[in-house]
C-alpha cells in the first residue's frame, strides 16, 4: 500500500447535494468510509438514504465532492465507477430476472478481464441455496435468495467498496439476521468496505463500526456505532427502545 | 410580459371566437367568389380530401391511443365503392356517397371488434395488415374492380339545381363544394364526439381499461363505434378522391400503406392534440409537396443543386420523412401545438369563476385552443417536468 493519507478512506464525501429534477433531497452531506469498515447510514423514510447511494454510484446528477480511494469520481459515469471498484446493491436488489443465477453472477464480473469461474464457484459455496439453483432463472428465487444473489453479484467485481441499499427490505427477520452475519463475515474476510443504509437498523448497528444519522437530507449525528447504540436519545429515536 | 387573461364566456371570448370563425369561413368560402381556374379548385379539393382523411385518423388515434396505418384501406374502399357503383351499375354519383359511408362504417366496426383486445403495437400491426391487403384484394377481384387496369372515366356532373354547367370549370367548382361540405360535416362529427360526455370519459380511461370498467364506461362499444366512424370518414374522403382523379387504380399511392403513412404524416405535422391540426397539416403537406416537385425547375436554384435533383424521384417524400422525424424532436404536437404554445404567451383562457352562471361550454373558437382528446404524445410529454413557462 502506498502511505498517502488518502488511502485511509475508501470513500470520502464532502458537501454532497443531489436530487431529482427541481427537488433537492441532499443538502450538502459529509461522510467517510474507511478501509475495511462497515458504516451504516440510518434514517427514516424520505431522509435521503437511497439518494445518497445513487449519488455515490453516479446514477443521479450531483454536486459536491465524491472521492473513492483518493480519486475524484464526482463526474464519472456509473459504469466507470464500477470499474474503479465500487459495487452498488440497489434497493429492490436489481436482479436480472430472466437470467440464470449463474449468469447473474457472471454479469457481476462484467468489469473484470479474467475468467470469473473460480469466483462463481466460491460464492456459490458461500451461499449454498444459490448453488442448488444455479441454472434456474433468477426471477424464480425467493426474496432472501435474491438478496444473497445481489450481494454475491456485487462482490463478483471484487470491489473495494460495497454499497447496500436497505438489504433487509422485505426479508423475514431470520433471513435478515443471516444476511447481516454474512455481510460481517465478508467484510472481515475480503477486505471490502461496506456502506449500508437502513431504515430499521437494530442488526445493522450491531455489525457496523460507525454510523451516521440522516434526517431530511442532512447528517445530524455521527460516531462510533457502539457509542451511538449506548446513547439513549438516539436509541429511542431510531431503534425504538 | 404577462399574458392577457380572457374569461371563458366573457364578451372578449365571444369576440375571439367570432374572429376565428370568420377567418375560417372566409378561407373556406372565398374560392367561390374569386375566379379561380379549374385546377386551382382541384388543388383546394385535394387539400380538403387529405384533411378529411387525416381527421378520421386523428379521431382514431385520439381514442385508441395507438397509431393506425390502415386508413388507406378505408380510403380505397370508399373510392372503389363510388367507382364500381358508377361504372358497373350506372348509379348517380350522389347516391354512392351514403353507400360508401355505410359500407366503410360496417367494415370499420368489424375491424374494431377484434381490435378491442389489442394493446400496444398490435393495433398498428392489424391496421398495417389491412393496408397491405387492400390493393391485393382489388387486384384479386378484378372482375369487379377492373384489376390492375382499374376503372376509368368517372365523371361527376353538377346537378341542375346548382345552375352550373357540365364544363370542366364548373365541375371542379362543384367538387370543391362537395369536398368542403363533407369536410365540415366530418369536423362537426369529430368535434361533437370529442366534446360529448362519452367522448370525454373515453379519453380519461383510454389507457386504463380497469378504470373504465369501474367507471361504467363501455369502452368496448365506444372503441368499436369509433373505428366505424373513423372508417366512414376516410371512405367519404376516398369517394371524393376517386372523383377528383376520375379514375380508380390500385397502384395509386393513397390506397397503399404508403398512403396511410402520408395521412399519419399530415396528422402529425398539423398537430394531433387539436381539431384543426389535420387541416393545417393538409395545407402544409400539399404546399410542400407542390414546392418540392417544382423545385428542380426553379430559376433561382443553383446549377449544382439542379443537376443533383434532375430526374431524382421522391424528393418530396424524403423531405417529409425527415420532417416527421425532426418534428418528433422539436414539435411533437405539430404546428398547431407549437402555435398554441406561442399563443399562450399572449392570451390565456381562464375558466369562469364558480357562481358566474351556468358553465355554458360550446361555441367555436375556444375549441380550437382546447385539445382534442390528448393523444399519447401530449399525455406522455406532460408527464415530463416542465421547465417553467406556460
Amino acid at each position: 500500500m502506498d502511505g498517502s493519507a488518502d488511502t485511509a478512506d475508501v470513500l470520502a464525501v464532502e458537501g454532497l447535494y443531489a436530487g431529482y429534477g427541481p427537488v433537492e433531497v441532499l443538502h450538502g452531506i459529509d461522510l467517510t468510509v474507511g478501509v475495511r469498515e462497515i458504516v451504516v447510514v440510518l434514517g427514516a423514510n424520505g431522509a435521503g438514504k437511497t439518494t445518497t447511494m445513487r449519488a455515490v454510484s453516479g446514477m443521479i446528477p450531483r454536486k459536491g465532492v465524491v472521492r473513492f480511494a483518493g480519486r475524484d469520481i464526482s463526474n464519472v459515469s456509473p459504469d466507470a465507477i464500477v470499474r474503479a471498484g465500487v459495487a452498488h446493491v440497489p434497493q429492490g436488489r436489481g436482479t436480472f430476472m430472466d437470467l440464470s443465477v449463474e449468469d447473474n453472477l457472471r454479469v457481476g464480473a462484467y468489469v473484470r478481464n479474467d475468467d470469473p469461474s473460480d469466483d462463481i464457484s466460491r460464492w456459490l459455496d458461500v451461499f449454498p441455496r444459490l448453488k442448488d439453483r444455479r441454472a434456474q432463472k433468477a426471477g424464480s428465487l425467493s426474496g432472501g435468495e435474491q438478496q444473497m444473489l445481489a450481494i454475491a453479484r456485487a462482490l463478483m467485481s471484487r470491489p473495494r467498496l460495497l454499497l447496500c441499499d436497505e438489504p433487509s427490505l422485505g426479508l423475514a427477520p431470520v433471513l435478515v439476521q443471516e444476511m447481516f452475519r454474512t455481510l460481517a463475515e465478508l467484510n472481515r474476510d475480503t477486505n471490502t468496505a461496506v456502506l449500508l443504509v437502513e431504515q430499521n437498523a437494530n442488526l445493522a448497528m450491531a455489525i457496523a463500526h460507525r454510523a451516521y444519522l440522516l434526517e431530511t437530507g442532512a447528517i445530524v449525528a455521527s460516531g462510533d456505532a457502539k457509542e451511538m447504540l449506548d446513547d439513549d436519545a438516539i436509541r429511542k429515536a431510531y431503534l425504538g427502545y | 410580459m404577462k399574458p392577457i387573461r380572457i374569461e371563458q364566456g366573457s364578451r372578449a371570448h365571444w369576440l375571439l371566437r367570432l374572429i376565428g370563425f370568420g377567418t375560417i369561413a372566409y378561407l373556406a368560402l372565398s374560392p367561390f367568389f374569386r375566379n379561380l381556374k379549374a385546377n386551382e379548385y382541384g388543388q383546394l379539393t385535394d387539400i380538403l380530401i387529405l384533411a378529411l382523411a387525416a381527421m378520421s385518423l386523428n379521431l382514431l388515434v385520439g381514442y385508441t391511443g395507438q397509431i393506425s396505418i390502415g386508413q388507406s384501406a378505408f380510403f380505397g374502399l370508399g373510392a372503389y365503392t363510388t367507382a364500381i357503383l358508377m361504372h358497373n351499375y350506372g348509379w348517380e354519383t350522389q347516391w354512392t356517397f351514403p353507400v360508401a359511408v355505410v359500407l366503410c362504417f360496417v367494415v370499420g366496426v368489424l375491424v374494431g371488434i377484434p381490435a378491442l383486445r389489442l394493446t400496444g403495437i398490435y393495433l398498428s400491426l392489424v391496421t398495417l395488415a389491412l393496408a397491405q391487403l387492400f390493393p391485393a384484394l382489388v387486384r384479386k377481384f378484378d372482375a369487379l374492380t377492373g384489376g390492375s387496369r382499374g376503372i376509368q372515366n368517372l365523371r361527376y356532373d353538377p346537378p341542375s339545381w346548382t345552375g352550373l354547367s357540365h364544363s370542366t370549370l364548373d365541375r371542379s367548382i362543384w367538387l370543391y363544394a362537395v369536398a368542403l361540405s363533407f369536410t365540415v360535416i366530418g369536423y362537426l362529427v369529430v368535434r361533437n364526439l370529442v366534446k360529448s360526455r362519452v367522448g370525454r370519459s373515453m379519453v380519461a380511461v383510454r389507457d386504463n381499461t380497469t378504470a373504465a370498467a369501474v367507471m361504467g364506461v363501455n369502452v368496448a362499444v365506444v372503441k368499436t363505434v369509433t373505428f366505424g366512424i373513423s372508417a366512414a370518414l376516410a371512405g367519404l374522403a376516398g369517394s371524393v378522391f376517386v372523383l377528383r382523379q376520375t379514375q380508380a387504380n390500385p397502384d395509386n399511392i393513397y390506397y397503399t400503406i404508403l398512403g396511410a403513412i402520408i395521412f399519419l404524416v399530415i396528422m402529425v405535422i398539423g398537430g394531433t392534440a387539436s381539431l384543426l391540426g389535420p387541416i393545417v397539416g393538409a395545407v402544409v403537406y400539399y404546399r410542400v409537396d407542390d414546392f418540392t416537385r417544382s423545385l428542380p425547375n426553379k430559376d433561382w436554384l443553383p446549377g449544382a443543386a439542379k443537376d443533383f435533383l434532375r430526374d431524382r424521384p421522391n424528393l418530396a417524400t424524403v423531405v417529409f420523412s425527415a420532417l416527421l422525424i425532426l418534428l418528433m424532436f422539436v414539435a411533437p404536437f405539430g404546428i398547431v401545438g407549437l402555435a398554441k404554445r406561442i399563443g399562450r404567451r399572449f392570451v390565456v383562457l381562464v375558466p369562469r369563476p364558480p357562481g358566474g352562471g351556468g358553465g355554458q361550454r360550446g361555441g367555436f373558437a375556444s375549441e380550437e385552443f382546447e385539445a382534442i382528446p390528448a393523444t399519447p404524445l401530449e399525455t406522455s410529454a406532460s408527464a415530463l417536468p416542465t421547465q417553467g413557462g406556460p
Binding site: V107 | Q132, L133, K140, P313, F320
Partner: protein, 299 residues
C-alpha cells in the same frame, strides 16, 4: 405427396427470410423494447447498397458483407441519434419516428440511386435452371437450400453470441433489467446501439437473400415481407429468438401450402392474408405467442 413436398421446400425458403427479419425484430424488441417499423426498409437499403457495390467494385458476396457493415452502422446510429432521444419523451413519438423512417428509407432508395425500375442483382447461390435437387418427385432448388442454410448459420451464430460471449451477456442483462445493468459496469447506451446494429445486420442478410431470389432489387420488395415477419415474430412470442426462427419457417410453409392447395381462393395475391389471419388468431387466443413468456396482468 409430391405437391406437399414442393410446397414445403418452397415454403421453407420464404420462411427462412421471414425468420431472418423476425429475428431482427426480436433482437430490437428484446434489447430496447421497441418495434422497429423500419426494419424491412433498412434491409432493403442494405440490399441496394450491396447491389451498388457489386455493380461497380466487388464480387457479390463481398458486397453483401460490406452491406452488412453498413447496416450495422445504420442501425446503431439510428438508435443513438433518433430512437433513444425521442424515446425519452414518448413511446408514441418513437413509433411515429420509426414509421417516418420506413417512409424515408423507402423513398431514399430511388432518390439516392436515381433508379425507377428494379435493378438486376446477382445471385448468391447457383441459379441455373438445372440447379436443383430432386427429392420425392419435388424439386428443391439449390438457391432455396442456400437461403435455409444461411438462416441456420445466422441463428447458430446468434445463439453463440448471446449465450457464450460477454457482449451477449451484456445484451441479455440490459434487456432483462436496463436499470440494473449500469450498476454492473455495463455501458447501457453502447449496448442499445449494438442491439440495433446487430438487428440491422441480420436484416441485411435477409435483404440480400430476397434480392438474390428475386434476381433484382426494388424499393417495394420488403414491405410485404416485413409484415409477414412481424406476424412470425408475434407468433413466436416477441421475446424469443428460437420462436422467431420456428415461427418464420412455419409461416412460410403454411402460406405456401394454403396458396398451393387453394389457388382459387387464396392464390399468390392473397398469401399475405394468411399472415393477417395468423396475427388475429394469435392476438385473440394467445397474446404472448407460442414461445414467449406469459405476462400476468395484476389489477
Amino acid at each position: 405427396m409430391k405437391d406437399f413436398l414442393q410446397y414445403l421446400f418452397d415454403g421453407l425458403s420464404s420462411g427462412a427470410i421471414y425468420a431472418l427479419i423476425a429475428v431482427s425484430l426480436v433482437i430490437v424488441y428484446r434489447g430496447t423494447g421497441h418495434l422497429n417499423f423500419a426494419q424491412g426498409e433498412m434491409a432493403m437499403i442494405s440490399a441496394f447498397m450491396a447491389w451498388w457495390l457489386s455493380s461497380n467494385w466487388m464480387p457479390i458476396w463481398a458486397a453483401v458483407v460490406v452491406s452488412m457493415i453498413f447496416a450495422f452502422a445504420l442501425g446503431a446510429i439510428t438508435e443513438g441519434l433518433i430512437i433513444r432521444p425521442i424515446g425519452q419523451r414518448s413511446q408514441f413519438a418513437v413509433a411515429v419516428a420509426a414509421i417516418g423512417l420506413l417512409l424515408g428509407l423507402n423513398a431514399l432508395a430511388p432518390f439516392a440511386w436515381k433508379v425507377t425500375v428494379p435493378q438486376a442483382f446477382e445471385s448468391l447461390f447457383p441459379k441455373k435452371d438445372s440447379d436443383f435437387a430432386r427429392i420425392g418427385g419435388a424439386t428443391w432448388r439449390y438457391e432455396y437450400i442456400g437461403v435455409l442454410i444461411t438462416l441456420l448459420v445466422v441463428a447458430t451464430l446468434l445463439f453463440l453470441l448471446f449465450q457464450k460471449t460477454k457482449l451477449g451477456l451484456a445484451m441479455r442483462a440490459v434487456a432483462s433489467n436496463p436499470d440494473s445493468a449500469p450498476l454492473a459496469g455495463i455501458n447501457k447506451g453502447r449496448v442499445l446501439m449494438v442491439s440495433w446494429g446487430l438487428a440491422a445486420t441480420v436484416g441485411a442478410v435477409g435483404g440480400a437473400m430476397v434480392a438474390s431470389l428475386r434476381g433484382n432489387v426494388d424499393p417495394s420488395m420488403m414491405l410485404a415481407i416485413f409484415f409477414s415477419a412481424t406476424a412470425a415474430a408475434m407468433l413466436g412470442g416477441f421475446d424469443s429468438l428460437i420462436g422467431a426462427v420456428v415461427a418464420g419457417l412455419a409461416l412460410g410453409v403454411i402460406e405456401n401450402m394454403v396458396a398451393g392447395y387453394q389457388p382459387d381462393i387464396i392464390g399468390q395475391e392473397l398469401k399475405g392474408s394468411v399472415s393477417l389471419i395468423v396475427i388475429l388468431v394469435v392476438l385473440l387466443f394467445r397474446p404472448s405467442g407460442l414461445f414467449g413468456t406469459r405476462r400476468v396482468e395484476r389489477v
